[in-house]
Amino acid sequence: MSAATETKTEANTKTVENATCTFCGCLCDDMVLTVDVDAHKITKAKNACVLGKALFLSHEEEDRPFALIDGKPATLKEGVEEAAQILTNARFPMFYGMSDTTCEAQRQNVALVDMVGGTIDSTTSVCHGPTGMALQGVGESTATLGEIKNRADLVIYWGGNPAESLPRHFARYAVTAKGMYTPRRKKDRTIVNVDVRRTKSTPVADIFIQVKIGADFELLWALRALVKGRKVAPDIEKRTGVSLETMQDLVERMKNCRYGVLFFGMGLSMTRGRHFNAAAILSLASDLNEYTHFIATPMRGHGNVSGADMVVSWQTGYPFAVNFSRGYPKFNPGEFTATDMFARGDADAGLILAADPGSNFSQYAIDHMKKIPMIVLDPKLTHTAKLAKVAITTSHYGINTGGTAYRSDGVPIELRPCLESKYPSDEEVIRAIYKRVEQLLKAKKKTKSANNKRRKAA
């Protein structure tokens, strides 16, 4: 409250400038937030897009219990104790989520999994996980968004709809943004949209290419062949829905631009072909570097999903789907990805941090989550929180809590919170659980060795 008093004006409002919106992967850091201190509400969110406005202006701290255990109100301490007991007694706990929280919380979360020998996975595995696997196969040519703003004269959006999912992507980074070598904004760029249907993003494009559903890989592979000077038979149109002429025209444009970009979405990474699609588009960009400078980069959804990849990678060497059962990190998507672990019925407990798999995982996975003790940390009473044994209410990152978030291009940004919250941050709760589990594990170890001694003596 003291901070609010310091900056309050006559109307008892305060402004926080250069705040970051964590709604999507654009992570726009130019928000000007006006806060009505008495009403404890954000009244204005200047520069925010429609999604950002929804995030800030509808933010309301619900008066919820600090924790729910079996649906009954409990204190934070009781919630932490119950969570710690679950994790200490679990043999194969699954940790999932992390895309809507700070890196500081993510770092503590990986420490906790490491200690209990569990498995950790982020929402990456259900969005651009296949892109991460493609990277491991072929590498990538990428760039921060500013370089694209400054230099790109050919921008291709493939299998994604930023107009609706990343509303300021065009204006801030790639279409109407004014850059060093693109002073005339859109006039200095050619925009191409490749998708299976027209979307809200299509009108921005100079060229729209409609690919048949499920034929992205074939189209990408044909383009690669053409870039490399191979012959492609005209009947490729039957398979892809795109004529050879259109492909040749696109290839010429790609080879002759000065700085080209392929932005791609889950239309590639989560449809037939998955990591093959992603590998094909990454390879296409790499191949084009024989002729010019070319980039391919995924468009990421959640505010700090890239941060989750970063943290898990620097702490374990692998981006997602990491298991610690043997006392060291092992990586295996399919085996250690959350949706598979739950659907197969492998996990015997779960901790969900800042995600809602209960609303979007398969029914098999959700059915299993209902059977095992689940711990959920979330500001809201989500579908997952409703089926959890322990649901702990946390504050909202970026609004109530500071910390770090990584933009989809890897640029780290420090968040500027504008409202205080009575609820603890994710990081604080994870730290508290960690501390308690550490004590419980030590006690368990002691009892075990005492029992062993007794057995030996007998």
Partner: protein
């Protein structure tokens, strides 16, 4: 009363204080070395052992954006080399994975178990400094710092083009201060503009004009940065990765770069990669003698070798055109390019140096020649440009190669003979490094070049970062497994066992600048970057355990 400790009966190698293998007591109080401690102090008996300051790595790539892409890129590199979590009485350590680009925790533990207590990450785009700091915080035990990339900075180019030297100095100071970094690094200065902006070209001559900046040349960038850093009194001079890395005939560029410094201090890094004769696109030859001679005769130059070690490596560099060139020679399909707006490029490829390959054998031999021809070990120090030439875990083997000529000959005979035919017979191949010289090239020298007054020696006032080795004929064995390692006076390795964890410090510099420079930088950042100027500087929230190293001004 703080904690005290005395190390007795050890043979002490402390070149900075002219102690060469004499038996001396080392006294420690509150994490620092002191003249004396009360008689009833806990002791470590180092009889039959060698006592040295903790190792200092002047140039490695261990944390930040590119290291993390290299980790993500290579699951194959991690899976056979894992580090288990330890549940000890007092502490728990974190698990991790190794390979050529280990996870952060493994990096810290492995440096410590090798007796190294300080390491400097050598290439960070300022925009991504926050990322590096987060990773370094998760790199335990060792002290660490990092250098920011300034050789392809577009705003500095604009200032230099217009001759605004005063502003350049202030801008460099602002950048160092606001990223919490240690010094400036130039990588292939001038190369990014043609790479990013002109269909993947690069720059080859110090006097080449830079795309879009017709008044500028690499030479102008280098000399301007040397002046700025000298004027600011940074403890470490400009750290230069010269143009033309890896290209045959590049030794001329290297000599010209050193001459361009015109008597002022510069540090030329991984100079082995810059000591090649021959014609472009043909097989290289060794120009180590010419490079070594120049450095021997010019005390303003310091260098680290960037030794190549056979086996798996990861080539990761801010020199993007170089990585692109290397794809031609790599059997691995994977290539990463990553541009950072207005500041840097980056290239990563998995690589392997093989004994039978002419160029690789020659590179290995050139590195050794540079060591063996160096007359002043204080200015030609040990590095492998980890993980470019080899990993830091290969230092013990490199030390043995320098100390043991029979071992060296054995290896010489097992590599590509065409590459080493001449070098093998050279007189300098008979030289063997002494323990004192090893202490210089692995700790005292790097610490002095870095301007770290409390590192690399065992005199009163120094940080109690100490390594105690069993004496052993096999120097590789000796240097890979110290019996004791102390960090800030705390026993990390006790009788070969990992006993304690520790949070190392971030070492950074905070030079003064004219506040007015922010008004110059602000509009540029607002126009050509994608984050707000007010969100650019790394706030103090990111700084926990740290030490500001003073400037000399």
């Amino acid at each position: 009363m703080g904690s005290t400790l005395r190390i007795v009966n050890g043979r002490v190698y402390d070149p900075a204080n002219n102690v060469d293998g004499k038996t001396r007591d080392i006294c420690i109080k509150d994490g620092k070395i002191v003249k004396s401690v009360p008689p009833k102090t806990k002791t470590i008996d180092a009889k039959g052992m060698v006592v040295m300051p903790g190792g200092v790595d002047i140039h490695c790539h261990i944390a930040g954006a590119k290291a993390n892409i290299a980790r993500k890129l290579q699951p194959d590199d991690h899976r056979r080399d894992v580090m288990r979590r330890l549940d000890l009485k007092k502490i728990n350590t974190r698990s991790g994975t190794g390979g050529t680009v280990p996870s952060t925790f493994t990096t810290g533990y492995r440096y410590a178990t090798m007796g190294y207590t300080t390491a400097m990450e050598a290439a960070v785009p300022p925009l991504l400094a926050r990322h590096t700091i987060e990773e370094l915080e998760d790199t335990p035990v060792i002290d660490k710092g990092f250098y920011i990339l300034m050789g392809n900075n577009v705003l500095l180019y604009q200032m230099l083009q217009e001759g605004r030297h005063e502003e350049i100095r202030n801008a460099v100071a602002w950048w160092i201060d606001s990223t919490k970094s240690y010094t400036t690094k130039l990588v292939n200065p001038g190369g990014d503009e043609p790479w990013k902006g002109h269909r993947n070209a690069t720059i080859t001559q110090l006097n080449d004009k830079i795309d879009g900046f017709e008044q500028l040349t690499p030479r102008k960038i280098i000399t301007s940065m040397v002046s700025a850093v000298e004027d600011l009194g940074l403890p470490h001079p400009v750290h230069i990765h010269c143009n033309n890395l890896g290209h045959s005939g590049n030794y001329k560029t290297t000599l010209e770069t050193m001459k361009a410094a015109d008597g002022r201090r510069i540090h030329v890094t991984h100079i082995q990669f810059h000591s090649y004769g021959g014609k472009p696109d043909e097989n290289p030859t060794s120009k180590a003698p010419a490079i070594a001679e120049y450095i021997n005769n010019n005390p303003n130059i310091s260098a680290d070798v960037g030794q190549v070690m056979f086996g798996k490596s990861t080539s990761m560099t801010a020199d993007a055109p170089l990585a692109w060139m290397l794809t031609r020679y790599s059997s691995d399909q994977r290539w990463v390019n990553a541009d950072t707006e207005c500041e840097s490029g980056c290239g990563i490829i998995p690589f392997a140096y093989q004994e039978h390959v002419y160029t690789h054998a020659l590179q290995w031999a050139i590195g050794l020649e540079l060591f063996l021809l160096s007359k002043d070990p204080w200015r030609m120090v040990l590095s492998t440009d980890h993980p470019n030439g080899g990993t830091f875990t290969s230092y013990p083997r490199l030390i043995r190669t320098l100390m043991d000529k029979e071992f060296r000959k054995e290896q010489m005979n097992s590599v590509n003979q065409k590459a080493v035919a001449k070098i093998k017979r050279a007189h300098h191949m008979e030289r063997e490094y002494t323990l004192q010289e090893i202490a210089i090239v692995t700790r005292a020298g790097p610490a002095r070049i870095l301007g770290l007054k409390n590192k690399g020696h065992l005199g009163p006032g120094a940080d109690a970062d100490i390594t105690i080795y069993d004496e052993h004929e096999d120097k590789e064995l000796m240097f890979s497994a110290p019996r004791y390692v102390l960090k800030d006076g705390k026993l990390i390795i006790d009788n070969h066992e990992f006993k304690n964890n520790h949070e190392g410090k971030l070492l950074h510099v905070s030079p003064d600048y004219d506040e007015g420079i922010k008004d110059v930088i602000r509009p540029f950042v607002e126009d050509f970057y994608t984050i707000k100027f007010d969100n650019y500087a790394v706030s103090d929230n990111y700084i926990h355990h740290h030490e500001v190293i003073p400037t000399t001004k």
